[in-house]
Symmetry: C2
Subunit: 207 residues, 2 copies
Amino acid sequence: MKRKRIPQTTIARLPLYLRYLLKLARKGLRIISSYELAEHVGTNAAQLRKDLSYLGEFGTRGVGYDVAELIRQISKCLGLTKEWKIAIVGMGKLGPALLGYKGFEQEGFKIVAIFDKNPKKIGKKMGNLVVSDVTNLKEVIEKVGGVDIGIITTPASVAQKVANQLIDAGVRAILNFAPVTLGVPSNVVLRQVDLTTELQILSFHLT
Amino acid sequence: MKRKRIPQTTIARLPLYLRYLLKLARKGLRIISSYELAEHVGTNAAQLRKDLSYLGEFGTRGVGYDVAELIRQISKCLGLTKEWKIAIVGMGKLGPALLGYKGFEQEGFKIVAIFDKNPKKIGKKMGNLVVSDVTNLKEVIEKVGGVDIGIITTPASVAQKVANQLIDAGVRAILNFAPVTLGVPSNVVLRQVDLTTELQILSFHLT
DNA sequence: AATTTCTTGTGAATTTAGGCACAAGGCTAT
DNA sequence: ATAGCCTTGTGCCTAAATTCACAAGAAATT
Ligand SMILES: NC(=O)c1ccc[n+]([C@@H]2O[C@H](COP(=O)([O-])OP(=O)(O)OC[C@H]3O[C@@H](n4cnc5c(N)ncnc54)[C@H](O)[C@@H]3O)[C@@H](O)[C@H]2O)c1
Ligand SMILES: NC(=O)c1ccc[n+]([C@@H]2O[C@H](COP(=O)([O-])OP(=O)(O)OC[C@H]3O[C@@H](n4cnc5c(N)ncnc54)[C@H](O)[C@@H]3O)[C@@H](O)[C@H]2O)c1
C-alpha cells in the first residue's frame, strides 16, 4: 500500500486503543481481534483496521493482532518511547490537581517545573517540587534542561503572556486550560481543554 | 435557505464564538464583522459565516453582525437560557477543583450535589455543599429536584458503575474525566475529557 | 435615483473522514 | 498437499466538513 499521512482523527483514537491494549496486556492476553478491540473502544472494526493500517501491517490474517506488538507500534508512532518533560504554569486549583495525578508519570510524562506569580505560593513545596516565580520561567526551564510540554492553568487574562514566555523558553507544545483562544506560531502545537465548552455542548444536546 | 442539521463541528465552535462575543459586549462593542470574529477564535471568515448560517440570518450585509443579537442567538441554540443542574461524583483531586471554579455558575451551570464513596469525605463541607454518599446517589438527586449533567471524577475502575447510577437517577448528560471508554444508552449524551490522550497527541506532534 | 462600497449568505467544488464488502493470506485439520 | 476457516488489509463508495468565490443586499455617497 502507498503509505499516506495519518489523519488527525486517527491520531486522536490511537491513545484509546493503546489504553485498552495495556489493560489486556496486564491481564495476560496476547492476541486480540479488530472486532473485539473496536468494541471496547467504542468504534467499529473497519475503522480500527484502517487506523492501524496507517502505521503498517502487523496483524495476522485469520488470527488477529499481537497485543505486545500493537502496544509497541502505537507507542512508537505516538512518540511514547521517550520521557517527556512538562512544566505547569499556574498553581491555583487545577494546577495542583494535575501535579498530584500519578497517571501522567506512568505514561511517561514527567512534571519537572511548576510556576506561579503569587508570592505566597512561590517557594512553597508541592508534591516533590518547589513553586518557582513565573518571572524566572526561562531560566528555571533552562536549569532543568528544557521542557517539552507546557501546561497553562493560569487565569485567562494572562494565558497568552504565559504562552509567549513558554515559547520563548523553547517549549514547542502547549496544553491550555484557560478559556481563551491562544495564538502560537506554526511550529508550536497547541491543544485546548475547554471545560465550559464541553458543558455547553452537552447543553446543546439536552435542548 | 433550506435549514439543515447543525454539524457537530459547528456546535463545538459556537461556544468559542460566544465567549469572544461576550468579551466584546463587555467592552461595549456593538458590531463585529465575520473577519474579525473569526480571527479572534482562530478560524476563517467563511467558516464562521457558514456556522452562523445554520442558526439563521442575523448579519447585515455591508455592515457585520450585531454583537448582542449574536449572543442571544448562539445562547438560544446552545440551550443556555436556562440554568443547568450538575452533580460531581468523586471528590478527590479533580472534583474539588471543578467545584471551586467560579466560571461554571457564571455560565449557567450550577453544581447542586457532590458525591464520594470514602467515609472520611462523606459529610464534609466543600464550597457550600456537603459531600453525599454515592450509595444514596439516586435519592439525593431526587431530593435536589433532579440533575441535568453528571461529572465523573472517580477512579477509572468505578466510572462505568457510577455512570450507570447517574443514568438510573435520570441524568441524561455525562462529562467523564476517568480514562475509560464508557458505554451509555443512545438517549444519554457522553463527552470525555481525556488529559493523558491530550498529552499523547502533543507527543505525536513533537515526534 | 443611481452608483459605489462593503460584508453577508450560500451554492458548488474540494478535501477529509467513515464504512462496506471482499480478495488476500495465514493457520489448522485431514 | 489441499480444503476449509477465519480475520486482516484495502479499494471503492458514501457522508461530512471545509473552503472558494460570487451574487445578493444594505448603507453611504454623489
Ligand atoms: N478550576 C476549574 O475547574 C476550571 C474549570 C474550567 C476552566 N478553568 C480554567 O483554568 C485556569 C485555572 O483555573 P483555576 O481554577 O486553577 O484558577 P485559580 O485562580 O485557582 O489559579 C490560577 C493560578 O494562576 C496564578 N497566576 C496568576 N497569574 C499568573 C502568571 N502570570 N503566571 C503564573 N501564574 C499565575 C495564580 O496565582 C493562581 O495560583 C483558569 O483559566 C480557569 O478559567 C478552571
Ligand atoms: N487529577 C488529574 O489531574 C487527572 C488527570 C487525568 C485524569 N484524571 C482522572 O480523573 C479521575 C479523578 O482523578 P483524581 O486525581 O481526582 O482522583 P482521586 O483518586 O484524587 O479522586 C477520586 C475520588 O473518587 C472517590 N471514589 C472512589 N470510588 C468512588 C465511587 N464509587 N463513587 C464516588 N466516589 C468514589 C475517591 O474516594 C476519591 O475521593 C480519575 O479517573 C483520574 O484517572 C485525573
